[in-house]
Amino acid sequence: MDINLSSEDLAFRDEVRSFFEENKIKSGEDYFSWRLGWFKKAREKGGWDVPKWPEKFGGPGWSPTQHYIWEQETARANIPFDLPFGLGMLAPILMNYGNEEQQERFLPDIRDRQVNWCQGYSEPGAGSDLANLKTKAVLSDDGTYYTVNGSKIWTTLAHVADWIFCLTRTDDSGIKQQGITFLLFPMKQEGIEVKPIITLGGSHTVNTVHFTDVKVPVENRIGEEGKGWTYAKGLLEHERTGLAGLSKSLVELEQLKDNARSIKRGNGNLMDESSYKSKIGELEIDLLATEFTELRSLASAAAGGEPGPESSILKLKGTEIKQRIQKLTVEASGIYSSAWGDKGVGPAFAKGGTAGYLNSRYFTIYGGASEVQKDIVAKKVLGLTKGSSK
C-alpha cells in the first residue's frame, strides 16, 4: 500500500491541469461553441472526451488512479456540462448488446454531443420496482415495426431530448423480468406528449411522457426481444456502483466552509459555533472515508475482479453526503433560508440554497431508493434472504 502518486501519475495530473487551464472559456466567448470545441480538443488528447469508454471504442484506457485524478481535477475546474444519458448510460449498452450497425449509427453522435438522449424506464406503477413496467410494444404482423403505447415518468430532460431509450413490454405471460424489450426512438414525432413535473425546488427537469401508437422500426431494437431487462439491469448495477461524485462533494464542502466563515458571529464566525462546526466535521470525516471506499472499489474493479462489497455502499453514502451539504447550506443561511424566488436576500449563497436542498431529497430516491439499495446489499453482500437464519 502506498498513498503517494507515482511520477507518471503526477505527470498525468499536471497534463490534465494544463489542458484545463489552456482551454478555459474566454470572456465573451460563446458557451456552446466553446463547449463543442473543448470536446474536440479533448478527443485529440486521445479519448479524453469519453474517459469512461473502453479503448476499443475510443476511450483513453486509464488506470483507476488516472480516473481518480481526472475526477478530482474536473471537480475543481470549470469544464463544459455533460449529460449522462447518451454517454454514460446508453453507450455501454450499445457497446455490449447493440449490433455493429447500431453502434456505427448511434455512438458517433453521442460522442460528438450532437444528440440529446433521455431514459424511458420508470413508470407511474414502476418506481423502485422497475420490472413492473407496463408500456406496451406490439410487433406488426409483417415483423417490421413495433407500436408503442403507455406512459413514462421522471423522464429527465425529456422536453429537450432528441431520442429516448425505452424499456417496453412485449410479453406479459411470464415473470415480470421477462418480456421486456429495449427500444430506441426519436422524441420529436407524433404520438409523443411530454408534460412537465415541477419539483419542490421549483424547477422543471423531469417530465411525464405519454406514447400513443408510436411506431418504432425493428432495427431500433437492442438485442433480442424480451431480453431488455438483462441489458438494462447490467447498466443499473453500473449506475448504482458508479462514481458517487465525491470529488465534487469535497469541493462543495470547502465552498460551504467559506460560506459559513462569511457569516459573522460575535468576534468570530459561524464556523466557531460548536454545533455547526461539529456537523461540518462529521460530514468531512464521512467524506474522507467514502473517498477511500471509492478508491478501493475502483482498484478492485481494475484488478479484474467484480467490484468488491465496498462498492455497494457508495451510492448510499454519496447521496447522503450530498444531501447533508445542502442541509448545512440552508442552516448557514439562517433567517434567509426561507426567502424564495429570484430576488437576492441576505448572503449571496443563500439564494437557491433551499431550492437545492429540497431538490436534493430526490438523490435518495432516484436510481433505486436507499431502502431498495440496502435490500440489495443485505441480499447480495450479506447473504440475507427471507428465512436465511433457519
Binding site: 413535473i197 421549483g202 440552508v330 439562517g334 433567517i335 433560508s337 429540497l358 431529497r361 430526490y362
Partner: protein
Amino acid sequence: MNFELSEEQKMIQQSVERFVQENYDLSNRIKISSEDPGYSKEYWSSMAELGWLGLAFDEEDGGFGGNQIDTLVLMEQFGKGLVLEPFLANIVLGGGAIKRGGSAALKESIIPSLIDGSLQLTLAYAEEQSRFDLEDIATAAREDDGNFVLNGKKSMVLNAESADKIIVVARTNGSQVDKEGISLFLVNADSDGLEKENFPTVDGLRASEISLNDVKVSPENLIGEKDKGFEILQAVANDAILALAAEAVGAMEVLYKDTVEYTQQREQFDHPLSDFQVLQHRMVDMFMEYEQCKSLLFRATMETVQDPQLSQRTVHALKHLIGKSGIFVGENAVQLHGGMGVTEELRVGHFFKRLLVIDSQFGNADFHLDKFTSL
C-alpha cells in the same frame, strides 16, 4: 394535572378543523398564495367574525381573556391546512407586543381593530447580522426634538407587504448586542423614509426587507418603556415559538398520517409499501417524533401560562425538538412518497417546506440547543 381542553376550546378546535377541511385543500391554498395579497381577506374576516382573532386578548381590551393555550388550539389546526392568513404576524407578534407594552391609548386604538380584522400589523425584529440573536439590534432610534428618528434595516419581516403598521425593534442605547437599550416603536407603513422590498418565502407566504431612513416616530408610539423593550420582545418571541410549534405539530400529524395512508395504497414488488418492515419502522419513528413534540409543546405552553419566567428553558427545548423532529418527519414523508414526494403536486412537500421555514424562524434547532444547555 389535566390535559383536557375546556368546552369552549373544544368547540373552537372543531370549528377551526372544519374551516381547514372546507377551505384548505392544496389547490385552493396554491391559488390563494399566488394571488395578492397572498392570503384570503374573506377568510380573515371570517376568522374575526368567529372570534378567533380576539381569543388571546384581555377582556378589558375587548378580547376573550384567553392565553397561549387558546392560541395552541388555533395554530395546531392551522398547521393541518398550512393556513396562509397572517395570524402569527398580527395577533401573536404585533398584538402580543401591544398588549404587553402598549400604553392605554395605544391598546385602545390598536387592539379592537386587530380583533375585528380591519388593521394589518407586524413586528420587524430581525436584522441581517443578527441571525437568531434577538438582542443584536443595529437599527438606531435617536431622540430629536421630542420625537424619535429611526435609521437602519430590518430583515425577513412577515406580512409587511400588507401591514398598515409595523412595530420596529430599534436601539435607543447601549452597544449592538446589549439587552438593555432596546425599544419598540409603532410605525406607519407609509411613513416617509420607510421602504419595503417584498418577496415570497419558501412556504408560500410573504416577507420583506425594510429600510428606514430618518423615519420620524412620535413618543406616544413608543411601546413600553424606552430602553426596556427586550423583555417585551423576548416574551413575544416565546409566544411565537409556542404558536409555531403548535402549527408544526399539526403539520407533522398530517405528514405521518398521509405517509401511512400512501404506503398502504402504493404497491411495489407485488406488495403495498406498508408491508415492508423497514418502512413500518420508519413510520413508527415519525409517529414517535410527532407525539414527543406534542408532549413538549403541552409542557412548554402550560409552564408558560403558569409562570413565563420559569418556562424559558422548556421553550428552548421545544424549539430545538420541533426543528429537528419537524425536518426528520418532513424528509421521511418525502422519502416514503418516493418521486411524487419531491413534486409540487402532492401536499407532503408543501408541509415539509413549512416545517423547514419554521426551523429558520425565532432560532433554529442548534441555536436553541445551545441556549438550553447554557441556562
